[in-house]
């Protein structure tokens, strides 16, 4: 269960990776992760190669390793799951350090750990090098339904506002000496959630009226529609192509 989402991951910078168009980055990343996911789990060195590729991208984007590692906590629940796998899986047993572990479970645990970690790092690199507005434009260019992109745009725009509203409610509770100590206090917090919904919805109605008064007729104008140069696509394709090459070699050696 992941908790705080309070801060966007974006790290302002001006690198090759930052300058790539968002939709090219998105496609490149999805392709990369698909290659990683479909690699057989026994090719241990292939995963090392993938990790090296991602490290290369991080270096190009000048994202420090510490930044990436700190954000990797979102993966923790599944790491626990992966670590349990050798214990609970049912297959031939091998004895490691005096523990009876499932061989298949060990491989499955490794599989989840390796692929999950590579996926998380890839996502972190995308989020760190692409700001929210560019990402939404990228989604729009990828022909995601316009209405969905609009909803996402509103969510991104007002996410911080609503979160701040919730923080103010928390400050108000705590300044009246309230402290959630046991389950009975859930009621107070949940009532706050209800009040938050009313405030949020009413804000939405005001936003809609403001949009109408500025000429909104059911669709937002597309602000930026510059085409992507060939060079952008080529550099974006480097990562998945390199990964595919690794996967091919791994397949050939099988």
């Amino acid at each position: 269960m992941a908790g705080g989402h309070a801060h966007l991951l974006y790290r302002h910078g001006d690198s090759v990776v930052h300058r790539l168009p968002a939709h090219a980055k998105l496609i490149s990343l999805v392709a990369f992760v698909l290659v990683v996911v479909s690699t057989p789990r026994e090719r241990f060195w292939a995963f090392a190669a993938y990790a090296a590729l991602l490290a290369g991208v991080a270096a190009l984007a000048r994202i420090p390793a510490r930044f990436v590692i700190r954000r990797m906590v979102v993966e923790v629940p599944f790491v626990v799951f992966a670590l349990l796998m050798p214990v609970v899986a049912t297959s031939e047993r091998v004895v490691v350090l005096g523990l009876s572990l499932s061989q298949d479970g060990l491989l499955s645990g490794w599989n989840i750990l390796a692929k999950g970690t590579l996926g998380v790092v890839a996502s972190i690199l995308l989020a760190a090098t692409t700001d929210a507005r560019a990402l939404l434009l990228g989604l729009q260019r990828l022909r995601l339904p316009e209405r969905l992109v609009e909803i996402a745009a509103f969510m991104v725009r007002y996410g911080d506002v609503v979160t701040a509203e919730m923080q103010r409610m928390r400050v108000a509770r705590e300044s009246r000496a309230f402290e959630a100590r046991h389950l009975g206090h859930l009621r107070v917090v949940a009532q706050g959630a209800g009040a938050l919904f009313v405030r949020t919805y009413e804000r939405g109605e005001r936003v809609h009226l403001a949009m109408l008064s500025r000429g909104y007729a059911g669709a937002m104008p597309l602000v930026d529609n510059a085409p992507v140069g060939v060079s952008g696509w080529v550099s974006a394709a480097t990562l998945p192509l390199a990964a595919a090459a690794v996967a091919l070699v791994a397949g050939a050696l099988a």
Partner: protein, 344 residues
Amino acid sequence: MHVPDGFLNAPTSIATGAAAATVVGIALRKARDELDERTAPLAGLTAAFVFAVQMLNFPVGVGTSGHLMGGALAAVLVGPWTGVLCLSVVLIVQGLLFADGGLTALGTNITLMGIVTVAVGWAATRAALAVLPRRPSSVPPAAAMGALLSVPAAAAVFVMLFAVGGEASLPSGGLMVSMLGWHSVIGIGEAVITAVAVSAVVAVRPDLVYAARGLQPVLQLKQADGSIVTVNAATGATATGRRRGVRDLLLGGGAVALVLAGVVSFFATGNPDGLEYVAGEEGFLKTARDHLFGDFALADYGGVGGIPVGLVGVLGVLVTVGLGVLVFRGLGRSRRSTSEVTDR
């Protein structure tokens, strides 16, 4: 609960992605019935609300905490289709901007947390509302019912997906039991928060609560000449009453059928395992020495091979519901066009 990359194999991820895309596509069109042209700002703000509320952590057991999924809450407050849209957008944004949940697992995450929680939560809420007295104060307990069931339902679907595309020979029976047990506890927390939050909204602005539409008392206006005129406070709700009925039947019935086919049949297949265990008690001693956890050793004793029964049930229900929806839509369209003709 955000599933990362590589947890399920590529075919399963792609299949759940296709399912999620289909449902979100339908939801995009259906949400217009719930919110008309205000969809974008209101659904966007509600998504921001769900996003904020998901940060509410509550203690589950010793030292661990769960957080609100918000599927049932969103369905009750803004309607099931808008709820699906809001949850999906939250998950997309979390995946892309916060690296929470894998990119290739986005479809899986939307299916689990955006669609299953909303569908089951809404179906259970409607079922409870059908039994409870028809007044706005019935909505919070009904919402609690929806939230309570929505969390274990998502966990059950997750276990089923894992049994199909998990690339590990985990005993699905044991995994199912532990996941359902754990998430039932989380479901209680979800139910309490949902019920209290909904009742706070019902108390202030009952008109905002989608599930409370049509439950407001009928107004009786006394005219100046002494005659009494009854006015339905929620005229909009009665105008769309018939269509909502059909949709609810589809949604609710489909969800119940899915749960029965997918979850209950799993327990049905679990039965022979136990019987077999009793029959071969001597063999048990040997297995128990091999395994660290006796429970899981028992579960694998029956050895479910091939495709799990639950999956077949779920697929059957999905195909049936799909066909049913197609037929209904065809009927509805022809009926609507004839009524238009007669109106003129």
